[in-house]
Structure formats: structure tokens, C-alpha cells
């Protein structure tokens, strides 16, 4: 019984579960829009832990069974796009929670997305992030320059469009490049795990969630605080990404695998540091005028005595 459920988990398709050889590998050609059938190999130790976790939740059985039977409408119909918004509130919250608490060994895609990638999360997280960065940057600059006589507050509305371009480009183009790269490597090396384009977009979108509270906390005009926040955010979202994509490249040449993970993390670093540098002015050293005044006073006191 356990074996059959495992097969259903792995293949997501009820029809093939009973007759298929559990040790066989299936090869499927990935299309960006279709529900993916994962390539599977012999069940390994770590996979069994994941399956135990999945088995513990009754709802997961149903979603796995149903996922294999999703009907795909042609791409010019509205129903086709509705399949990407087929999530409930609690599922979105679960995915956000998963992106905030990366657990070693647990794969975000396997655990939370499970053949139901959604576009709701990535799109609205990016939208919120755009406005969070623009508004926080504006507020932070206002607070930093508050005392200055020559400062006149401007809402800096241009920066919203710039932020939007950067964030949305990152959230769509990097997954596209990564997906293309993984597909190319898949044609050379038989990888056990492969992701569809939408799943990669989904992971990237949800991994950006940590930057929303980070951007709001960046209002604090202390350099040390900002850099600590950058480290924390990078640590969390970088590890979510690394742990998600490591299974997809570990079968490959060691150097290629490591280089891929490093590139993913590096691009993430560039994004966060770039946003911090561009949207948030460096906090000025406010105490400089008083420190220059003090030596004058001591010199004057020395002269008068």
C-alpha cells in the first residue's frame, strides 16, 4: 500500500501507478506551460523522508492525485491562464512560510508547489516589493536629509518605474535563463530532478518575499543595520534557491553544478545590494560639524588660558 502511494506521489498520474516498475526512469519533454511529470529514479533515503512528510498530510494525497488529471486548455483561452491561479489563501501562506524558513534537505518545489505552480504569488510579491522599495527608499531619504536647510522633499515617483523594471525583469528573465540552462544540461546529463519553467518562476517569486520586510527595515538610517539585514535576507532566500536547485544539478559535472549554484546566489546578491545602493541614500555622518567645532574650542581655551 505504501509503495503504491509512493508511486502516485512520484508520477502524479493514477493510470500508470499500478503497472509501472518502481525502478524505471521516465523521460518527459518539458513544455513551459504543461503540468510536469517528474523524472524519477530509484527511491533514495532522502526521498523517503520527504514522502513520509507528504504522506502525513491527507490533503496532499488528494492534490497529488488531482494534479495528474489537470486538463490543459489551449493557450488562447482564459481557462488556460486560470490554471496558474488555482491556489487557495492557505496555500499561498504556506508557500510564503516555506520561503521564509528554509529547512535543510527540504525542497521548496517538492514540498510546497507539488505540480501546482501559481503565478499569483510571484506577481503580487513582486508588485508589493516594487512599492515597498520605492516608498521605503523615499521615506528613508526624507528622514536622512530632514534637518538640512537645502533639502526639499520630492516624492521621486520616477523610481517606481525603475524599481518595477528591475524587479520584474529579475523575476522573469533569470528564471528563463536558468530554465534554458537546465534544459540544455538535461540534454547532456540525465538529471533525476528537473523543473518546469513555471516552477522556477514560482520559486524565484516566493524567494523574493523576504525582501519586503527587509526593504521596510532599510528605512533605519544605520549602515550596520542595513548590511546585517542584507546578510539575513540573502541567507534565507539564497538558501531557499540553493536547496531547490542543488538536486537539479548535482548529477552533473561537479564544477558545472557548483558554478550554477554560485551564479544563482551571485545574481541574488547583485539584486539586493544594487537595490540598497540605488534606492537608499547612504546615511550621512551627522555628528561631523560638532567634532570640528570642538578642536576650535579647545584651541581657543588653550589660547585664553
Amino acid at each position: 500500500y505504501l509503495c503504491q502511494i509512493d508511486l502516485q506521489m512520484e508520477f502524479g498520474d493514477v493510470a500508470t501507478s499500478v503497472t509501472a516498475n518502481p525502478d524505471a526512469t521516465t523521460v518527459s519533454i518539458e513544455d513551459p506551460g504543461e503540468t510536469p511529470k517528474h523524472q524519477t529514479g530509484p527511491l533514495r533515503g532522502s526521498g523517503r523522508e520527504e514522502d513520509d512528510e507528504l504522506l502525513g498530510n491527507d490533503d496532499s494525497d488528494k492534490t497529488e492525485l488531482l494534479a495528474g488529471q489537470k486538463k490543459s486548455s489551449p493557450f488562447w483561452t482564459f481557462e488556460y491562464y486560470q490554471t496558474f491561479f488555482d491556489v487557495d489563501t492557505y496555500q499561498v501562506f504556506d508557500r510564503i512560510k516555506g520561503s521564509l524558513l528554509p529547512i535543510p534537505g527540504k525542497n521548496f518545489v517538492r514540498l510546497y508547489i507539488r505540480s501546482n505552480p501559481d503565478l499569483y504569488g510571484p506577481f503580487w510579491i513582486c508588485a508589493t516589493l516594487v512599492f515597498a522599495i520605492a516608498i521605503s527608499g523615499n521615506l528613508s531619504n526624507f528622514l536622512i536629509h530632514l534637518g538640512e536647510k537645502t533639502y526639499h522633499y520630492v516624492p521621486e515617483f520616477r523610481k517606481v518605474s525603475i524599481a518595477a523594471t528591475i524587479i520584474y525583469a529579475y523575476a522573469w528573465l533569470v528564471p528563463l535563463a536558468l530554465w534554458g540552462f537546465l534544459m540544455w544540461r538535461n540534454s547532456k546529463v540525465m538529471n533525476i530532478v528537473s523543473y518546469s519553467f513555471l516552477e522556477i518562476v514560482c520559486v524565484y517569486g516566493y524567494s523574493l518575499f523576504i525582501y519586503i520586510p527587509t526593504a521596510i527595515l532599510w528605512i533605519i538610517p544605520q549602515k550596520a543595520v542595513r548590511w546585517i539585514l542584507v546578510m539575513i535576507a540573502l541567507g534565507i532566500s539564497g538558501s531557499v534557491l540553493a536547496m531547490t536547485f542543488w538536486p537539479a544539478v548535482r548529477e552533473d559535472n561537479r564544477r558545472v553544478a557548483l558554478a550554477t549554484i554560485m551564479t544563482i546566489v551571485l545574481l541574488h546578491v547583485l539584486l539586493s545590494v544594487g537595490c540598497l545602493a540605488y534606492f537608499f541614500d547612504a546615511p550621512e555622518m551627522d555628528h561631523l560639524p560638532t567634532t570640528t567645532a570642538i578642536p576650535n574650542q579647545t584651541v581657543a581655551a588653550a589660547k585664553s588660558s
Binding site: F78, Y81, Q82, F84, F85, V87, D88, T89, Y90, V92, Y120, F123, W124, A127, T128, F131, I135, N138, Y153, V154, P155, E156, F157, R158
Partner: protein, 193 residues
């Protein structure tokens, strides 16, 4: 503005809808937004005139008096327009993609009409700003904008929430929150020259 009446004596001319009737319909919807109750008027007899008037008024009030408004960094007329309409369309599409059973134009109508409290807030802010800048001035504006923001959210949620299945209601309402928050931010950060 002359009233266009139906004149059965003129053959071949299309009789245009009476202007007063349309104005009354718009005014009635304004009232429904200001006192949100469970009523279907906004949804059943949707029109886009109200939202258009509100959007143009808001965009005009967000303009500054100075000649070189480029350097001010505030939103241009076209930017406000684009944000309001593009935002409303995006929220409507989101609502429909999540499986809501509201029509496209009904949703646009509701979202547009519920900008009314924020337009009132903009008016009040401009009046308050005539008294000169200062922290008290800012606190008053902040209070007004917050109250009107809450009013807009409550009004639009009263109309839109029922159209979603209960397990996705929060997903459909959050973008509305974001939309009115951005507009409130634009109103609050308005600084005249």
C-alpha cells in the same frame, strides 16, 4: 449644458440618453460608496463615467503649480491616470483569474467609484496645505488620508468580496489594499511648490 430630450417628432434621429439621468445615476453611486451597504446598484448598473471623473479630478489635483514639474519628482497627470486604470484592470483580471464571478466592467466600476473617499481626502489635503507646512499640518493630513483609505477599502470590499469563493477572498482583496495604499501614498506625499 442643454438637456437632450427624446423628440418623437424627429424621424431618423437617434434619441440620446438624457444627461440629467446619467448624472443622477453617477450621483446615486457616489452615495452608495459614501454609505456602503449591501446593495447591488453599483454592480448592476455599472458605468465608467464616475471613475473617469474621479480619476481626472485626482490627477489634476496632484499636479503642481510650478512650470517645471519635471524636477518635482511627483507623478505626472498621465502617470496617475495609468496607475489608476492599469491598477484597476490588473486587480480585475486577478479577481477573474482566481475564479470570481464578477464581470470585467462591474469590477472596474466598483474600484473606480471607491476612489471617491481618497479624492475627498486629496481635496482636504490641498485645503489644509494652504495653511502652510508644519508637523501639525502633516499629522492632520496623515489622519485624513488614513481614514479615507480605510473607507475606500471597506467600501470596495463590501462590493467585491462576495464575488469570490471564501477560500480565496483574502487573495482577491489584498491587491485592492495595495492599490488604494499606493494612491494614498501619492496623496500624502503631495507637496506644492
Amino acid at each position: 449644458m442643454a438637456e437632450a430630450e427624446e423628440s418623437p417628432g424627429d424621424p431618423g434621429t437617434a434619441s440620446p440618453r438624457p444627461l440629467m439621468r446619467d448624472l443622477k445615476a453617477v450621483g446615486k453611486k457616489f452615495m452608495h460608496v459614501l454609505y456602503p451597504r449591501k446593495s447591488n446598484t453599483l454592480l448592476r448598473d455599472w458605468d465608467l463615467w464616475g471613475p473617469l471623473i474621479l480619476c481626472v479630478t485626482l490627477a489634476l489635483m496632484l499636479q503642481r503649480d510650478s512650470a517645471d514639474s519635471e524636477k518635482d519628482g511627483g507623478p505626472q497627470f498621465a502617470e496617475v491616470f495609468v496607475i489608476v486604470w492599469f491598477g484597476a484592470v490588473t486587480i480585475t483580471l486577478n479577481s477573474k483569474l482566481l475564479g470570481g464571478n464578477i464581470s470585467f466592467f462591474q469590477s472596474l466600476c466598483v474600484l473606480g467609484y471607491c476612489i471617491l473617499p481618497l479624492t475627498v481626502a486629496m481635496l482636504i489635503c490641498r485645503l489644509v496645505l494652504l495653511a502652510g507646512p508644519g508637523p501639525v499640518n502633516f499629522m492632520v493630513r496623515l489622519f485624513v488620508v488614513i481614514v479615507m483609505f480605510a473607507w475606500s477599502i471597506v467600501a470596495s470590499t463590501a462590493f467585491l468580496a462576495d464575488s469570490q469563493p471564501p477560500n480565496r477572498r483574502a487573495l482577491a482583496v489584498y491587491p485592492v489594499f495595495l492599490f488604494y495604499f499606493v494612491i494614498s501614498w501619492m496623496i500624502l506625499t503631495f507637496t506644492p511648490q
